[in-house]
């Protein structure tokens, strides 16, 4: 294998870890409440803009931008839950899809209106240069994003499986009434889930803002990526999202390198449709 190919795969894995991070937010909410957040990609977009504002207005780097974006988006998530999700969850499917889809538009075009449609970007070396590592050249910003995303995704998995908070959330996902009888408040747990899910998107957004193009419509593409990841990994499964996210990152990078950059999104979308045709339960899921 040529060095370039290895380089492309490593780049794909690092980006894929970030995909896994924000997709695990989507999979958490979907698995727990059976509601799909069509604004999920736009949450990531908001995270990117928070990081950008922190950099331009306060001169802060990713060390300040990332925690702040996490915090801001987690708040947004909780507010969205109480203001919108809690009510539309009980409504018909049309209301559920329209509600989060409308939210996506609202966020996307508010940012569009405020910041304009121009591509913004952070300075290339904000995190610090490029590392040469056994012949591979890796940008520090991508390395940071990939490693942090991987660790946080694993942490999220541990939170859900090893802590009492995680058990309570699973209990609510399993059977709301039974959980309520055990003294767990479904409302609180679901609000926490939305906070965690949106916080993950905020962190992911702030991490990729260091090397990605920042534009209001980026959320549409990222939203589809998250959906593809979740349907590949099986919904409700964080490890599934991790594997699928890494896989999609690599596939995207490889097809961008081998076929051409404009086709990398097409490849991912077509892959998604093929999966729906042949294996709708995902790689690991059971129907």
């Amino acid at each position: 294998m040529s060095f370039v190919l290895v380089q492309v795969i490593v780049g794909g894995l690092l980006l894929g870890a970030v995909y896994a991070l924000f997709s695990s937010g989507l999979t958490l909410v979907w698995g727990m409440m059976n509601i799909v957040n069509f604004a999920h990609g736009d949450f990531v977009m908001l995270g990117m803009y928070v990081a950008y504002v922190v950099y331009t207005l306060m001169g802060g780097g990713p060390l300040l931008g990332a925690p702040l974006a996490t915090l801001v988006l987690a708040t947004v998530g909780v507010v969205v839950y109480f203001a919108l999700i809690r009510d539309i969850m009980k409504g018909p499917m049309l209301a559920q899809i329209l509600g989060t889809f409308g939210l996506a538009l609202l966020l996307r075009y508010s940012v569009f209106w405020w910041f304009g449609a121009n591509f913004l970007s952070m300075p290339q070396n904000i995190v610090g240069g490029t590392y040469a590592f056994a012949g591979l050249r890796i940008e520090a910003s991508r390395l940071l994003a990939g490693v942090v995303a991987l660790l946080v995704t694993l942490g999220l998995h541990l939170l859900l499986t090893r802590t009492s908070l995680g058990s309570k959330m699973l209990a609510v996902a399993e059977d709301q009434t039974a959980a309520q009888l055990m003294g767990i408040r479904p409302d609180t747990m679901q609000a926490i889930a939305w906070g965690i899910a949106a916080g993950a998107t905020g962190l992911a957004g702030a991490l990729i803002a260091n090397f990605f193009y920042i534009v209001p419509t980026v959320g549409e593409t990222l939203g589809i990526v998250a959906f593809v990841t979740v349907s590949l990994g099986g919904f409700g499964s964080v490890p599934g999202a991790l594997v699928a996210g890494l896989l999609i990152g690599v596939i995207e990078s490889l097809s961008g390198y081998l076929i051409g950059a404009i086709y990398k999104d097409i490849v991912v979308y077509v892959l998604f449709l093929l999966f729906l045709w042949f294996r709708p339960q995902g790689l690991m899921g059971k129907m």
Partner: protein, 323 residues
Amino acid sequence: MRRLIWLSVVLAAAIAYPLLLSSPFQQRLGALVLLYAIAASAWNIVGGYAGQVSVGHVVFFGCGAYAAMGSYSKFGLSPLFGIPGGIVIAVGLAAIIGVPTLRLSGHYFSMATIAVAETMRLIVTNTDWLGAAVGLSGPTVPRNIFDLSFLSSLPYYYLFLVILAITLFITWWMTNSRMGFYLRAIKDSERAARSLGAPASRTKLYAYMLSAAFTSVAGALYAMMFGFVDPESGFGILISVKILIMAALGGAGLLFGPLVGAAILVPLEEISNNWLGGKGAGLTFVLYGAIIVLIARFQPGGLLALFTRPRKPTSETGATHAP
């Protein structure tokens, strides 16, 4: 009987509108309302009656628009000849999307429709034969009447009115046929409908294909009126959004819901564009987003459902649904 009277009043008003309010702006506005009402009514067949929320409906719109413009700019034929071609492509595409996804929960279907629309937009943008980012144009100077290229909006207005009437008639006829009963049953409870032998997936697929055909016609008409189509106006997600929000605002699953939605939102957008100029584009969609959220939160049935509420009986017998 009362419905018949109402219907004739509305029809008479629609026929008289461009003659009474005859400024070019008003006629154009009227034509646009009808055009979007066609597209939204087509969406309503699958989104409203079948309860499958397609958020990438623009893909069929684009098929029709490109087929119409393509038949002129590639083969030198009247754009009219593109309409059947556009319908065939749209229906075929609907089958490709629908067969796998309509078996799954509605979310998969919605997301798949977005993915397909985005894929088509990217492919068309990168295909030189289809004019890439520039798109295709129609006849600049009409060669004969079949080019359907008019300066005034008046001929378009009446053409759109006829097509809208056909769309609504077929929708109405569908809701009263066996398929309509199946659809209502599936929408209420798919599991119950299946257990009683209603072919759920197939019925939803037929509704989707029918909807795709009409959306394709709407796209062709749009391209003829504007004389060109490019990837954004043919396959852009914002067209999907407009179609969806008009149907949902007026009332998804109600025959005249989409028309009411279009009659409210099209003038709103034209006026806000006239006021704010190019800067208004972003703001219009902020407003659209807010409207969609509010509908979903407070009035998922749409505005018309406010007036038809008494018709929703607590004991569902099915017999009360006769229109």
